[in-house]
Amino acid sequence: MVHTSLDVVDEKISAMGKALVDQRELYLGLLYPTEDYKVYGYVTNSKVKFVMVVDSSNTALRDNEIRSMFRKLHNSYTDVMCNPFYNPGDRIQSRTLVVLGTMTRQKTLPPSQGQAVTACKWAVLGGTWRREISKGDSAGSSFIFSLLQGPTRTPDHKGSVSLA
């Protein structure tokens, strides 16, 4: 997993050299042969990169949802930065930060898929962020946030997922 994240960071750095027009890059890449997981990247103006690794067990997430999730992530990150007790470079670990990533997908799935309707509330339950300084940038940093659960977990479960 660690190797994946490093590969992802490298790929992103090379991708950034080409088109610097838009603020976010929403690319699905690196579907590995053993585990079916997708990687999403998002870069902010302040050179902070968010990497999201998702284990897509059954249904894949929609583009818009990923975007909105990244938006919320960005907002939470901004709040963390403004916290005077936070020193840049520390590990960010918070349950409240994570609850913001809760998404509901009732509308997108047709009611005929019985299983999908019942399990359509998808919560980001636990996550630890790890900050990696990417090699190319002096002030850039990457946050690896992994969501490794499918939609079947109940929201009461207190899981803590870390990449390390």
Binding site: L20, V21, K47, T78, M81, C82, A139
Partner: protein
């Protein structure tokens, strides 16, 4: 003794400004388009950043295109109430230290390492000099 203490205070203020600048820039650049180059970033600092913090823009931006930028503010908000000329000139540096840190913190979060100094020749005008460190 006083001078040493003064120096330490100014460093502390500058560091505080640095941290605040980092957070502020994060918030301000959340929805803006990506910056094309260094000059673009400096212009952003002069216009949007300064307007949001001090309710006015930088009056003059000069550069030698080799990493040195001079931001001139003819009516710096923190100095307008102090004097209208040369009086209290020696006390001005304390008030400018935080702002220097603000600029430095903002630039650092945008990926630019720099050194920011300020000079006042006649209040309330002041100049901030930004020296970009090329790695």
């Amino acid at each position: 003794m006083r001078a040493e203490e003064n120096g330490r205070c100014i460093t502390k203020l500058e560091n505080m400004g640095f941290r605040v600048g980092q957070g502020l820039i994060e918030r301000f650049t959340k929805d803006t388009a990506r910056f094309k180059d260094e000059l673009d970033i400096m212009k952003f600092i002069c216009k949007d950043f300064w307007t949001t913090v001090f309710k006015k823009q930088i009056d003059n931006l000069r550069t030698n295109h080799q990493g040195i930028y001079v931001l001139q503010d003819n009516k710096f908000r923190l100095l307008t109430q102090m004097s209208a000329g040369k009086q209290y000139l020696e006390h001005a540096s304390k008030y400018l230290a935080f702002t220097c840190g603000l600029i430095r913190g903002g630039l650092s979060n945008l990926g630019i390492k720099s050194i920011v100094t300020a000079e006042v020749s006649s209040m309330p005008a002041c100049k901030f000099q930004v020296m970009i460190q090329k790695l």
